[in-house]
């Protein structure tokens, strides 16, 4: 583990944490459930992914690397599905999008 690696791992770790923090701030600041899902699904996924990759590089072993990469892949697979289902469930439960929403073509869908 050379100093170069140490610094690179540190930077990736910090950037990943910043993205996770941004996801959290987004949850607090955005207006309705659908917009919050954007922050959670994207910035959150990238943040966790970056931190897992930093961990894999830091450990420097193949079995840790494969496990971390599997973790990243599962994040990429599950985060969109979870966000999609939450949005769908919220819509069906009757959560109206916030008042700034200017198009809602789903309202016209025949039930």
């Amino acid at each position: 583990m050379t100093p170069f690696y140490e610094i690179a791992v540190g930077i990736v770790l910090v950037v990943g944490s910043i993205f996770s923090l941004i996801a959290t701030i987004g949850l607090l600041r955005l207006k309705d459930v659908y917009m919050r899902m954007h922050a959670g699904s994207k910035a959150g996924t990238l943040g966790s992914g970056l931190m897992l990759i930093a961990l894999a590089v830091h450990a420097g072993e193949v079995d840790v690397l494969t496990r971390a990469l599997a973790g990243v892949v599962f994040f990429l697979l599950t985060a969109p599905v979870a966000a999609h289902l939450l949005a769908k469930a919220a819509y069906q439960a009757g959560y109206q999008p916030c008042s700034d929403t200017h198009i809602d073509e789903m309202a016209d869908e025949p039930k």
Partner: protein, 158 residues
Amino acid sequence: MTGLFLINILLALAWGAVTGSFAEVNLFFGFVLGMMALYIIREQVGSDRYLRRFWQIGTLALLFIYELVLSALRVAAIVLRPKIDLKPGIIAYPLTVDRDFEITMLANLITLTPGTLSVDVSDDRRTLYVHCIDVPDKQATIDDIKNGFERKILEAFR
């Protein structure tokens, strides 16, 4: 197609047996070597379709990661702005792909790309409802998806 993939794995295992090491890195190297071997005999066994598909799936994955980074940056820019002033909306996206796993894949890709989140698929599988965090021009968003991800998916899986 699947047969060639199995042959490729078999070649990787053979490489592992010959070199006496079944470590992950060595098996991966064997897999790449097997691919090269299949490339050399592409005219005899018709493997160029298989290799081209590998390439297309690879570029799709890269595009996906690139878009994910872009979208996270964009969400970050929106969230950190002092005043959040957006025009969100739910738009109906007419689907060209019609197989279930292609729709699933497109919906997932849309969710991880800048400013869009798939909400629902209509019952007849023709329309995907997409929530956009900022949609000044609906048609531009639809064209973006049509010419980006949907075309890539059609190229990789048809």
